[in-house]
């Protein structure tokens, strides 16, 4: 059995975050992966060691990672672990299929910990076969409001794994380019970025800021009714229109923008004369939207093919569990007032 054994000590951590001493880690990645496929949780100290190693790996990646087709591109997962496994069943398991994930691995779903644990182990095990882009939910701020923090505390009894994962999130890359032609990002374009060289100089090793090009890349949305950038009515953030897309592709000599970030009932949406696609990979989002999901296969000719799928049947158990949980404090049914 091949083993990846680390005999070195994990790097020193911030004292306030690490109350227990970190033992010498000895991690068998293949064993971790097979346990995670069975949806078993890894030990807190193993997560810590894996995240530390992943940080070292990600630190070496550029803000713009270049890859070659064929590759299967996956949009938002949001902790829907069973549907992630469904994606592997449909698209092929790692490393037989190359994967590019566009971010938003955690929050909202019931299994953010299992989902991000598996993806991180796969990244560490097959660093060139799987790429993980940062989404707006890979952030300390957002995960405190939308479920990942609470899930970590509930499943581990403390927030240590949340600290390990969110520290690692600061190192995830911001974008990927497939075959020099397809620009892949979580949200969209930024008025501060005309050439992808401007992405390369962003200091990305930090929490996602509220403003600036790094925020725009993970936050912005296309607006098919507009030509240029517009300010969001919320007072922060942009939408980008058709001329922005056209200009960006022409300046960078590319043909297509591929992003995630927006729920669509059909699982995908193509805009601006097929110059931009949204891929959404969380079917029946939040276990109640009833939407389809898709993954996008880019073949070695650069052709794009959406593979649409529905929620995995295992989710039905989750729904039952959720209903039980809701009913736990009182007797079922709900005597609301």
């Amino acid at each position: 059995m091949p083993r990846l054994v680390w005999r070195d000590r994990a790097p020193p951590q911030k004292a306030d975050e690490r109350l227990t001493p970190i033992p010498t880690a000895s991690v068998d990645l293949d064993e971790c992966i097979s346990r995670l496929y069975k949806k078993e949780l890894l030990d807190e100290r193993v997560i810590e060691a894996i995240c530390a190693k992943t940080k070292e790996l990600l630190m070496r990646e550029s803000n713009v990672v270049h890859v070659q087709a064929p590759v299967t591109v996956v949009g938002d997962i949001h902790g829907q672990f069973y549907d992630l496994i469904e994606i592997f069943r449909i698209g092929g398991f790692c490393p037989d299929t190359n994967y590019l994930f566009l971010g938003d691995y955690v929050d909202r779903g019931m299994f953010s910990v299992e989902t991000i644990s598996l993806l991180v182990c796969l990244k560490l095990r097959y660093p060139n076969r799987i790429h993980l882009i940062r989404g707006n939910h890979e952030s300390r701020g957002v995960t405190q409001s939308y479920g990942f923090y609470t899930e970590c505390s509930r499943k581990y009894g403390n927030a240590n794994v949340w600290h390990s994962f969110t520290d690692m999130f600061d190192y995830l890359t911001l974008s990927v380019v497939i075959d020099d032609k397809i620009f892949c990002v979580h949200g969209g374009l930024s008025p501060s970025i005309h050439s992808i060289d401007q992405i390369k100089i962003i200091d990305r090793f930090r929490e996602i800021p509220h403003e600036g090009p790094m925020a725009d890349l993970v936050w912005s949305d296309p607006d098919p009714d507009r030509d240029e950038f517009s300010l969001s009515p919320r007072g922060a953030g942009y939408t980008f229109g058709s001329q922005v897309v056209k200009k960006f592709l022409s300046v960078n000599n590319m043909t297509h923008i591929l992003r995630a970030h927006q729920l669509c009932q059909e699982g995908y949406q193509t805009l601006f004369d097929d110059q931009l696609s949204t891929v959404w990979s969380a079917p029946n989002y939040c276990y109640r939207c009833g939407n389809q999901a898709s993954v996008l296969e880019v073949n070695d000719q650069g052709e794009r093919f959406f593979n649409v799928f529905s929620a995995a049947p295992e989710n039905d158990q989750v729904k039952d569990q959720m209903n039980e949980k809701v009913a736990e404090p009182n007797a079922l049914p709900d005597y609301f007032l």
């Binding site: 070292e56 990646e61 087709a69 190359n98 300010l231 009515p233 059909e266 029946n284 929620a311 005597y335």
Partner: protein
Amino acid sequence: MSLPPPTGFPGRSPPVPTTTFPSPPSVISPPPSTTVRPTSRTPFPDPANTPQATRTHQQGPFTISATKLPILKAGPIDSLTSRLGIPIPEMIFGDNVLSITHAPSGWSIFFSAEPALDLVDKTGASMLRVAYASSWSATREKTSAGITEVVKPFDWSYTTSYRGSEHPSPSHKLHKADPKKTQIPLELLKRRDPILFADEVVLYESELDDNGISMLSVKVRVMEQRMLLLCRFFMRLDNVLVRVRDTRVYVEFGTETVLREYTAREDSFENVKRNLYMSGLTPDAITVAFRDANQLANLIPVVEHEIEEVQLAGAGGGSSS
């Protein structure tokens, strides 16, 4: 050290030194590598088959009906957007309906997303700003120069004062009642009478670009002698504001009386947070509570309250007495 022959990756990014991460030679065993094409499992009924998506319950002269379907597709979203004139929430359950019908009189009330969204301010007059908006625009003045256009100003918090859509009959219409005299009998509703029919439908939900939550949902429970419907709008704009707007419809089957009560609650995020803290919650529990309107509602002061009534007895033919 050797992976199976690469199928494309890596690209041109400098390869990670393999000395740091020696890749074990063998491939993990569990995953089968065959590509399985998706099966057509449909957890939700097709919108074309609305009857199959609808549950109906008859109690005396009243019919209660709940239709639950997936979020709208791109086509229906476009037409709804142009009908309303504002961008619609990302989770839009435009086909969902919860209705109460009194057949003898022809009176009915239903709850659905479109009329609720039609009440959202479309002018931008009551537009909120996210907590970091001023620092955002200050630091972006250089890059934002020339980008002055705000996309369709409107109340993007999707705040609605929707109380349901009433279809009055010629002689029966909800009218204002005196809140001192007319009240929903809470004591009767606290009794654990068997629930004969219950359902909950979401009408719309938005994550406000992860600045909070805005959600409108309706739930109903029917007992032998009475029923209660609660349509709740819950909106939390992080570090700014919390709103809960409840519409309750109470039906007493014996007297065929319908009451509709509207209660709007609103407070600053800061006050709600302080009240949660004062109630003895830990910071973690406060985080959880901020996602749960049930925990927040009673901590937030009432800013508007109104009660209406309609008496349907004696309408049309017979009535259950």
